[in-house]
């Protein structure tokens, strides 16, 4: 039986059911309901919640809890996630596992309160200093979000990496029917610090960065090979394939349905992991495809870069053009996508690549 539930609250409860033992964070719109909900819920279950003095402190508390082998979570938005990058980079360096939720809001600096996808580059490139990536999950609905919460932790633990759970302001704030997943009780990791020095670590100055770099490269390659997730439709015969994730990914599916009815051979790829980018989804596309069109909630077009790079890898013998339909402020509507498609067909919009 599906109940109407607000996105942020559903995601928070899904995290509880995935076995989150610890949450630390700092309020910021549009993510705040996650911590508000957990502030009551976690202590109720004998688990821990800390309202940290800053995002910096919050992510470092998460680092401590993760190092002790428990499922640890923090959530924030835009500028708050910027402050967490130091910690995310260090957690990645220590190869600990945790989940960071970014309920993305639009804008540079302090940003705005509008729903957006403008943090795509940062999240899919690691975000902090150094040579690492985070696994990035980008759900299209509240149902998909709650279903992805346990996998978010499982992936983080399998590869000892940070999973970024990238939603959008609108997904966090909206309500829709959703069936929550069952409770699971994860075990404490064998590589946890338990006070007994059963997991041997060496000092920071005794590490061999060169050897570690090789292992890190192998780990990232393995994730790329094994963990691509996407949804696609009508790509086998498509002249044009839309690529969009999250809420735009969902609205694009409606646009494809209508455009198909109108006789346009269009398809879609909706990345569920934006890192690793679902290159395998592109291999299923019609070899004679005429172009890719991203629909994304940012001003400058970010997803289109990954699409163009992936097209370059998959269609080596020719250049498949890529367009970007950028929709700042909010979720691109079905009409926005159809209008954009018409402009592309009329040569009114120059391709990005």
């Amino acid at each position: 039986m599906a109940d109407m539930i607000k996105g942020n609250v559903a995601i928070a409860e899904a995290a509880v059911r995935a076995g989150v033992q610890f949450y630390a964070g700092y309020p910021i719109t549009p993510s705040t309901e996650i911590m508000e909900y957990l502030s009551g819920r976690l202590p109720e279950l004998g688990r821990s919640f800390v309202q940290a003095e800053s995002e910096v402190s919050g992510i470092n508390m998460v680092m401590g809890a993760a190092a002790c082998g428990f499922r640890a979570l923090t959530a924030s938005s835009g500028p708050g996630i910027s402050l967490k990058q130091e910690g995310i980079s260090c957690i990645s360096d220590e190869e600990l596992a945790c989940v960071v939720i970014n309920v993305v809001r639009y804008g540079n600096g302090l940003g705005t309160l509008y729903s957006s996808q403008c943090d795509y580059f940062r999240e899919t490139r690691g975000g902090g200093n150094g040579d690492y990536r985070c696994i990035v999950l980008t759900p299209e609905s509240i149902q998909e979000a709650v279903d992805l919460m346990a996998p978010a932790f499982e992936l983080a633990e399998k590869y000892r990496i940070v999973t970024v759970f990238m939603t959008e302001g609108a997904l966090g704030q909206m309500m829709e029917p959703c069936v929550l997943p069952d409770f699971i009780e994860p075990e404490r990791h064998s590589w946890a610090l338990n006070g007994k020095y059963t997991y041997k670590k060496i000092g920071i100055f005794d590490r061999n960065s060169m050897t570690e770099a090789v292992a890190l490269n192998e780990k990232h390659a393995l994730i790329k090979e094994n963990e691509q997730r996407w949804e696609s439709g009508h790509v086998e015969d498509a002249d044009y394939v839309f690529v969009a994730y999250g809420l735009p990914g969902r609205s694009v599916k409606g646009a494809v349905k209508e455009l198909r009815k109108e006789g346009h051979k269009v398809g879609f790829i909706r990345p569920i992991t934006t890192w690793p980018f679902p290159e395998n989804g592109f291999k299923e596309v019609n070899q004679n495809v005429k172009g890719f069109i991203t629909v994304e909630a940012s001003a400058t077009g970010q997803l289109v870069d990954d699409v163009a790079l992936t097209a370059k890898r998959v269609f080596r013998e020719r250049n498949v053009p890529a367009w970007s339909l950028c929709c700042v402020y909010g979720v691109p509507s079905l009409k926005f996508t159809k209008d954009g498609f018409a402009r592309i067909m009329n040569n009114e919009l120059k391709e990005a690549y």
Binding site: V56, N60, M61, M63, G64, A65, L193, Y197
Partner: protein, 249 residues
């Protein structure tokens, strides 16, 4: 009668501190207290960035190198998920009081049940002796070459007194390593801090005035004298917040 004296197995390894650095003495004291309190299999050290990081190389115990200044936050996360494990942050003054002043103060503010050991050598040792918030007025460092101008850079501040006076913490003390007598006193402070944590009394901080012969440009014995003559008058030794049970006794 002589007592048996043996460096605890926890830290019985060569460490790469400079000759005459106080870190080695403090680490040994911490390890002795851990053994005496039977915590050697129940201990995690969130370690700061700076010379304190060198601790990681010689220690046979769970530890994590924290981002610069954030050890108190990392310790908070550790303690909240494993409340029965003894968590000791080990940081320098640059780490805990400059870049980490927010995390350090906020952990004390929450009366987080952790023990904080801060090695105050009044400068940034690892990076070659820059000015710290604890550098004394007129102290020459590589970033205050003419001596610290307190009018422009602030007065050195006293963290244990601050948290003892303002926050609801369990225990706050300052010791030093200048003489056998002071070393023994410092050990009592450290032990009290750890006992406070083990008993769930809350936040404990032990600051240690420690020599940095290399960056002070003094030989180790002279550096100890410098602490006695110049640091202790500014940074008094003693207990600023005592444990409740001790006050009752």
């Amino acid at each position: 009668m002589a007592k048996e004296r043996k460096v605890p197995a926890l830290i019985d390894n060569p460490m790469s501190f400079c000759a005459g650095c106080g870190h080695g003495i403090v680490i040994r004291l911490v390890a002795e207290c851990i053994e005496e309190l039977n915590q050697q299999d129940n201990i995690i050290f969130p370690i700061g960035v700076g010379c304190s990081s060198l601790l990681g190389g010689g220690m046979v115990a769970d530890r994590l190198h924290c981002p610069h200044g954030r050890a108190a936050s990392v310790a908070t996360g550790m303690k909240r998920v494993t409340p029965d494990t003894t968590i000791i942050t080990y940081q320098g003054d640059g780490d805990a009081y400059n870049i980490g002043i927010s995390e350090s103060l906020n952990a004390a503010y929450r009366n987080e049940n952790i023990t904080v050991i801060t090695i105050n050598n009044t400068n940034f040792g690892m990076t070659g002796g820059q000015m710290s918030w604890t550098s004394l007025p007129d102290q020459k460092t590589t970033t205050s070459p003419k001596g610290r101008d307190s009018g422009a850079t602030g007065l050195p501040f006293r963290f244990p007194e601050m948290v003892a006076g303002q926050f609801d913490v369990a225990y706050a003390a300052r010791g030093t390593v200048t003489s056998p007598k002071n070393v023994n006193k410092l050990k009592k402070y450290i032990k009290n801090g750890l006992e406070a944590q083990i008993n769930g009394e809350g936040y404990s901080i032990i600051e240690v005035l420690s020599p940095c012969p290399t960056n002070w440009g003094l030989n180790p014995v002279k550096a100890m004298e410098q602490i006695e003559e110049q640091l202790i008058p500014y940074y008094p030794l003693g207990v600023f917040k005592n444990r409740k049970e001790k006050q009752d006794a």
